[in-house]
Symmetry: C2
């Protein structure tokens, strides 16, 4: 093992932390991720800073919390004032290369306002959040984004204007009819696409071909899979690799529905909440979801085998994580966004090839890790300078190398639900539709604008079934947690136009600047 030359930053989409063999899943096989954990560190308390793709990813890409980077939900453009990992690397003459999904929405208004040509080199990077794209593929194809995947499918015989809809997320039912994976009732069927041409296989191929081309040249690659995110259509043989009895038990109780928190109750009224409240849906989707994960793990095995053979395991830091989890019926909910561990906790394995990390190999670290930590970790590993006045996370390198720095005791997450039906059901304005959450060792606390708080005692209620947010017996606990959350918020980094180092140089310097106030 030697020092970090390359970084492979692997992200899966909507991948629950408890869906890993090494996390104790009794049936699901993730042999390759388990093996990676043995070679590195598994962080058992890794949390996202938002339970939604867009804001969560922008935290991964900027090192800043959602209320700092401003992308509070999926459709919100990433402000061109934000500095991304790609831009920090570019300043050090390194590229951040992308294969897969980022969910970056370009700040077209910001570019126009400042007269920046979106087609220029600068405009290219700003529109893409600093990534240089091998192939950007966000899955369900936001308009105006290009991926080579549809063309690839057509080359391999999937003749269609929209091969994704017709093959990748479609199946053929018993009557011989083509049916869509958008309807979850159909996801027991194998996808019409052959496994080697599936999204996961294709994106792994992109990464492999990238690595082959790079040879010994250093690189940083974000390999960002769109799976196991919906549509939950798995190709054979993964579609029925698991049956419904080989899935985790659903975490929910009748009690939860009584006097439920208004926002949670509204999310339960969403179509996905209604459908995932039915056992039939859960028993259909969960096996397919596990199949997609098993498939992903097999492709990671293929990738890691290549890297081993090419000597890349010796000089490449490998991170595996996800942008959030998936309720899959837990708490009578589908999809994501809300503040439960099913959504907020993500798989997190980091393999640091440096010899100094040998002391931690194969260990499980239960310190609180957040999405904002990855930008500082990558910059630290590569010796590239960041921006002290912007980056809010902390480098994981000391943890990986056996040090015991002062560390946080809570993880924080935010939600803007103004785009969701829940806002309409609750008759809110967009500015009112926000929440902040804090997760400590023992507590999950949520502060909602204009709605009651939520509180779960994870010591007595690890499944988060009993909301103590309005329980008179927990008033003091809520007050204390609210104060802690406030203190966190009061420390967000807002002075972005001047570095801490410049501030230090300019401190108490008025006389040097020819200004002599206060003299008698």
């Amino acid at each position: 093992m030697s020092e970090v030359q390359n970084i492979l930053f692997i992200m899966a989409d909507q991948f629950r932390a408890d869906h890993l063999g090494c996390e104790g899943h009794p049936y699901l096989k993730t042999a390759n991720l388990d093996a990676l954990a043995k070679r590195g560190v598994r962080f058992s308390r890794a949390f996202v800073n938002s339970g939604v793709c867009g804001p969560s990813r922008m935290s991964y890409y900027t090192g800043r919390y959602p209320s700092s980077h401003g992308t509070t939900w999926n459709r919100v453009p990433l402000a061109i004032g934000e500095v991304t990992l790609g831009e920090y690397l570019e300043r050090a003459k390194r590229d951040l290369v992308l294969a897969g999904k980022t969910h970056v929405i370009p700040d077209v208004v910001g570019l126009q306002r400042l007269g920046i040509d979106g087609q220029s080199e600068l405009g290219y990077l700003l529109r893409r959040g600093g990534f240089k794209e091998i192939d950007r593929y966000d899955g369900h194809h936001p308009p105006g984004q290009e991926s080579g995947y549809p063309a690839y499918l057509r080359q391999h015989g999937y003749v269609s204007d929209d091969p994704w809809t017709d093959y990748v997320i479609a199946g053929v039912d018993a009557k011989g009819e083509v049916v869509s994976g958008w309807n979850m009732r159909n996801v027991y069927l194998p996808a019409r696409v052959a496994e080697p041409h599936s999204e996961t296989a294709y994106m792994t191929d992109q990464a492999l071909s990238f690595m082959r081309n790079k040879g010994d040249t250093p690189w940083v690659l974000h390999l960002s899979y769109v799976k196991p995110h919906w549509p939950y259509m798995a190709p054979a043989p993964y579609h029925n690799r698991y049956n419904a009895d080989q899935c985790l038990p659903v975490v929910r109780s009748e009690q939860e529905k009584i006097d439920a928190h208004p926002v949670v109750a509204a999310y339960r009224q969403h179509e996905e909440g209604q459908n995932f409240s039915r056992d039939e849906c859960i028993r259909t989707v969960r096996p397919a979801y596990q199949g997609l994960i098993h498939q992903l793990d097999d492709h990671l095995g293929r990738l890691f085998d290549y890297m081993e053979g090419a000597g890349l395991m010796k000089n490449t830091m490998i991170v595996f994580t996800s942008d959030h989890g998936d309720f899959l019926g837990d708490h009578w909910l589908g999809e994501k966004e809300l503040f439960y561990d099913a959504i907020q906790r993500v798989p997190c394995i980091v393999m640091d090839p440096d010899a100094r990390a040998d002391v931690t190999r194969g260990t499980v670290d239960n310190r609180m890790v957040e999405a904002v930590d990855f930008v500082p970790t990558f910059l630290d590993a590569l010796g590239v300078e960041g921006a002290s006045q912007r980056i809010e996370g902390m480098s994981l390198l000391p943890l990986l190398r056996g040090e015991t720095p002062v560390w946080r005791e809570a993880a924080f997450s935010e939600l803007d639900y103004s785009f969701r039906q829940a806002r309409l059901l609750l008759n809110k304005t967009p500015q009112q539709s926000r929440a902040y959450s804090m997760r400590t060792d023992r507590w999950r606390y949520v502060y909602w604008l204009d709605e009651p708080e939520q509180l779960f005692d994870l010591e007595t209620d690890p499944q988060e079934l009993q909301d103590l947010g309005r329980d008179p017996g927990h008033l003091a606990t809520r007050e204390q947690l609210r104060s802690q959350l406030f203190d966190w918020m009061a420390r967000r980094k807002r002075r972005v136009t001047m570095s801490d180092e410049e501030v230090v140089r300019a401190t108490h310097a008025h006389k040097r600047a020819g200004v002599f106030f206060g003299q008698w």
Copy 2:
């Protein structure tokens, strides 16, 4: 009186709210401001959002709190991502014209990063915070800024490389020696500059000449005086218009120094705090400070007389306010920044020429007004669109026109003291050196990072002499106020790349976008 065609936005620098005749000052004459108050509304509880020039002004110019616009102290550049009053007006084909001070520091790094030519039309406005400058004059001449004032002085016979230092802030003592107004012991002397060539006279002349040139063409002018800000050197006859017994009594007590708040105690150790703790200093500075105000009022009389004659009083909204106050020895402090009414409360007179405002003329409005309210007020008065996702203040127009909208019950202010000696004395990092304050009808509450809270009960202690921040009897009050402050902070506008109106249009619209998650 007719509808608002022009806006005259007058700002004085470091002008305490209680230094106005119409605020009850027993000696100081401000006849012209008092007359303006009779024609408009005086807001008796107008507060700045920071007790320092730069951040306070950026709140006046953007309609956003300091932690939103990011200019947390004087030397911090205004991020080019921020949208100013000038830019909103420009989108409506109107200019925001400047005569005087703004304290805008250009975001040179931001311009370079985005490849924007600082000399282009766009670069010009971005560097100047959206102002089109007649003459920008920040007083003590930050490097690289141009003003016509030195040349004007030379034309009028003040022969010097630096006529400001040699004439405007200098005097001649009894021995015939030229002495500097930087040393406060000298400010009993008249300035060497003749009154008609003083800063206040010069800038009034600029405004008059601007109005004459504009004729009937609509305009928006920011007339921004550098006085009564230090150096406290007043020209004759204002230098001795008042004697030390015609000043307000100093607000301080011996009790205040016992077990003082650590940050307040550190500010008292600053040179200005030390000197303003001496009666000699107070009795020398306060009369000069009052003289500078009297002079300013006289020049406003000259300006208002012209406007009356030119018919401009009928169609011009006039605002008079300040960026913060001045301790002048109160609380054993000099200068500004900290959270006391001496600093945070400012004069605020608004004259709305519209006939709908006739119902409020001559009244005093005690609702809480903040610096962030002026951008929305001006846009509202001119019918120009702002940005719902950015502007955090509220238009004062309904208040001026006799309406009773739901209004705020507290004013908020922020401080970043990382550039000050106090940070060094307290051994803090820049990121730790911050505070947030809330002022309600009854309470002043301050939350300091890593330091005790402050609390003043203005009902029993209107002079803010007794800090209850660590008083066990006020624990519940502090908790309640901290929660209120937190709620305010949780509502700051962070999603700046997308308007509320766009969010509303995009709400619950996934199926329209071809995304069918959650279907069974």
